[in-house]
């Protein structure tokens, strides 16, 4: 056989046979061992984990913070991880996974995050905070610098937490740009004051205050805080808004987005969910 590669030697059938022999032996031994051990330690496991893992990228890159796709899949099925954390899996993969675990996510209406506080620079500071940059550390110092004990400090922990850069700090308080928000929940976990809540995308209004104090205390701390006067509760035609320990809570299943409460509110703290950020 003319040697078209200019080098090399005639095929050594001897070593060829040895190679095939070794490979066969190794494959056989390993295959049998794997099967035996998998038989030996078969553990009942939620079949969906295997399925979900099938659709994940499988790159085991660890970007989601979990140890690998298997671990992430287990967390997804048990419900304490969110699909958006994995940037590697293709959209098709994510669609598949969400319809396997579908009923838990897409069952309700898709949601969007909002910051239920309107204070920011309008809320008085108890002290001037000099120190480590984010709200978590500031919150350790006498509950943060704001006079209102649930006021947003605007130091941007939620801004950092959001992988989609949907959260910005404006006028001293955090603001969610609902077009970018994927409702992945990372900001909700990050906020030390847990001010960020999920509201359905279809909702038009949300209560931009969570202070549980009465009128005089609120006015003393913040110019735009809800003084729990109860006007919105009386104005609402279908009783969708009720005062729960001085904080108005909207029941979005009854709310028809009529806006009566928003106009009637003397402090204007019921705001638009899909509001344009003023800075733009």
């Amino acid at each position: 056989m003319i040697n078209l590669f200019l080098i090399g030697q005639p095929i050594q059938w001897g070593s060829f046979a040895i190679v095939v022999g070794i490979m066969a032996a190794v494959a056989l031994v390993l295959g049998v061992c794997i099967m035996l051990i998998s038989k030996l330690c078969f553990i009942k496991e939620d079949p969906r984990i295997k399925e979900v893992e099938g659709y994940l990228a499988g790159a085991n890159c660890g970007a989601c913070g979990y140890a690998g796709c298997a671990d992430f899949a287990k967390a997804l099925v048990e419900g304490n991880a969110d699909l958006s954390a994995c940037s590697v899996t293709s959209a098709h993969g994510k669609a598949e996974v969400s319809n396997i675990l579908g009923m838990s996510i897409t069952g309700q209406e898709p949601t969007v995050a909002v910051v239920s506080c309107a204070g920011g620079n309008k809320c008085r500071d108890k002290y001037a905070y000099q120190g480590y940059g984010d709200c978590v550390s500031q919150n350790m110092l006498a509950g943060g610098r704001k006079a209102c004990d649930v006021g947003c400090m605007g130091s941007g922990t939620c801004v950092n937490a959001c992988p989609y850069h949907a959260v910005e700090v404006e006028d001293g308080k955090a603001f969610v740009n609902t077009d970018l928000c994927k409702s992945c929940g990372l900001c909700i976990k990050a906020c030390p004051k847990s001010l960020i809540k999920r509201v359905p995308v279809s909702a038009k209004y949300y209560v931009a205050c969570s202070s549980q104090c009465r009128g005089k205390d609120v006015m003393n701390a913040c110019q735009v805080g809800c003084i729990a006067c109860g006007k919105c509760q009386r104005l609402c035609p279908n009783g969708a808004i009720i005062l729960v320990n001085n904080v108005p809570v909207i029941d979005y299943s009854k709310c028809t987005n009529c806006g009566a409460c928003a106009e009637g509110c003397p402090r204007k703290c019921i705001k638009l969910v899909h509001d344009e950020p003023k800075a733009k």
Binding site: I34, G58, A59, C61, V88, S90, G93, H165, D179, L180
Partner: protein
């Protein structure tokens, strides 16, 4: 195979899902080899070749390989192609072979190849997997060669091996050390994400206006 799908895979491979800058996979050769741009090119070519071949074979066998032995069989296929490249390179391109050194056998455990094999090749038909392999390999090669050029230019004042000026006159030795590699790689990723965010924001702004 529709042109749109082709464009999508191409864009994904090189820009949107660039393995080195976006997914941050295959970092070992990226940091190790980029002191010399030529070895980056050689490495890129080797990785692309192995990636295409293994993607093709894996997508061919995707339904046959049972799940229990999925990883071992994928790895065997990849290892075969890597050994093949090693033999060819040792025979025909000996100096490139010695400049790659340890990183040639390391292609087997390169996260890109196994990652793409499992996430793409094992769910898609052969044609698309081959293309994905090609463009992912291309994205990887472009990325590490860019880094290689920058590090070589700053580190020992030469471009693709051709010396531009005397190294002792002006060169930041820091860039050819391992610490320099981390820094360059970090800055490259930062630049890449900054550009990508800007493009995204512009696209969204346009979409909002429309």
């Amino acid at each position: 195979m529709k042109l749109k799908r082709f464009k999508e895979i191409a864009l994904d491979g090189v820009v949107r899902q660039n393995p080195t800058f976006k997914l941050v996979l295959g970092t070992c050769p990226t940091l190790g080899l980029t002191t010399a741009a030529i070895s980056c090119l050689g490495m890129g070519a080797a990785v692309t070749f192995v990636l295409i071949c293994s993607n093709v074979i894996i997508s061919l066998l995707r339904n046959i390989i049972p799940d229990k032995v999925r990883i071992p069989s994928f790895i065997v296929i990849i290892a075969t192609f890597v050994t093949l490249t090693r033999m060819v390179m040792e025979a025909y391109l000996p100096d490139l072979y010695s400049s790659l050194g340890i990183f040639l056998p390391l292609i087997v455990v390169n996260c890109i190849i196994l990652g793409r094999a499992e996430s793409f090749a094992s769910h898609n038909p052969v044609g698309e997997s081959a293309l994905d392999g090609l463009f992912m390999g291309l994205g990887f090669t472009v990325a590490i060669t860019l880094m290689g050029i920058v590090r070589e230019f700053l580190g020992n004042a030469s471009f693709m091996g051709i010396e531009l000026w005397d190294k002792n006159v002006f060169s930041i030795g820091f860039f050819s050390t391992s610490a320099g590699a981390f820094l360059t790689y970090g800055l490259f990723i930062a630049g890449f994400t900054a550009i990508q965010n800007a493009i995204e924001r512009k696209a969204q702004a346009k979409a909002l206006k429309a």
